[in-house]
Assembly symmetry: C2
Homo-oligomer: 207 residues x 2
């Protein structure tokens, strides 16, 4: 469990990949656009490799670092190539006004991913409450939702090795409410907090 595969070559893939390499993980990058894959592999360094789009990923943890509307189709396209993998959805399916979700049903991209992924894959939601800029400069809390306990431990271990604080919020059904935390985070940036250099976290009062 010391290898990850990034499906996607955007800003979040770069931010997570940078932290993963620094944390001692072997990183593989897959993307439709080979030039972007090559750029990211070079930027990440540390033995980062290129994977073939649609092939079985080398990583035990596969992170779909894609825009939300691409996640479910890509997981469906990969199909059995994801058998046995921990599939991590990091997406935020914001509506057009960023004050709600694109799906009106009480679901989440992560739950929809679980419907199209192989039965032996375990889907986990994490990272969606963290702005990329925060990931690059801070060590925020990473809220985790998923149905498989071992997959959540694997993701928590990964997240912790990146310097973040993993916190389990419950089953995959909770991914809907983590997407809601994403909505609140944007609401805070646009209102009470007034900037984007923050993340939701937990304050303990155990004294």
């Amino acid at each position: 469990m010391n290898s990850i595969t990034l499906i996607g070559t955007g800003n979040m893939a770069r931010a997570i990949g940078t932290l993963a390499v620094a944390g001692g993980y072997t990183v593989e990058v897959m993307g439709r656009d080979q030039a972007k894959v090559d750029d990211l592999v070079k930027a990440l360094g540390g033995g980062t490799t290129t994977g073939k789009w649609g092939a079985v990923p080398n990583g035990d943890i596969v992170i779909t670092a894609l825009l939300y509307n691409g996640v479910v189709p890509v997981v469906a396209e990969y199909g059995d190539a994801l058998a046995g993998k921990v599939v991590v959805d990091i997406s935020n399916p914001f509506n057009a006004t960023f004050d709600g979700l694109a799906h009106s049903e009480e679901t989440s991209i992560a739950q929809e991913v679980a419907k199209v992924a192989p039965a032996s894959a375990n889907v986990v939601k994490v990272f969606n409450t963290i702005f990329r800029g925060v990931l690059e400069k801070g060590r925020p809390t990473a809220f985790i939702a998923g149905d498989d306990a071992q997959a959540k431990v694997d993701v928590a271990t990964f997240v912790e090795s990146l310097g973040l604080r993993p916190l389990d919020v419950g089953g995959l059904k909770m991914a809907h409410w983590l997407e809601g935390l994403g909505v609140v985070t944007v609401g805070l940036a646009n209102n009470g907090v007034g900037h984007w250099d923050f993340a939701l976290g937990v304050d303990e009062f155990t004294g």
Copy 2:
């Protein structure tokens, strides 16, 4: 704006009332059960008064400290008595398994309150992400949603005088997602955090 009325005599009314008296606010208590009202008025002290159920509240800010399924009916029952008031909904409409909301639609108790309250009343959602025990021992973040800017300032001023950190998340529509924060808070207590002496807050990374 230095007076509040609590509708309700339960634990949250007691916790908020205690902080309000300490914060220099005049507190009025209204409840259906006069014995419980008398108990709470006595416990709060500091000039706390008793209001008549259904009458015009003395407080500029009226807090419905009731179980979620009582809030909308009680606001409807009060009707025009709430004209011009800031009506604060603090409720958590959890489902039976505490991993979702009791309403399947994308609404909130606060939004439903706004539908039955007088047009001149302004509804604000706050406090629902904070466990009572935390309110009694800590100074957590209080996430605020509402459509009226002045009403939110009034509530933020009140909350701040209680020692909490008020943070505006946006319009009343965001109350749905604050209720989601309530769901996540329970999920954290039952999973990653493992105890109830905490609250969701904001970690800033502005360095």
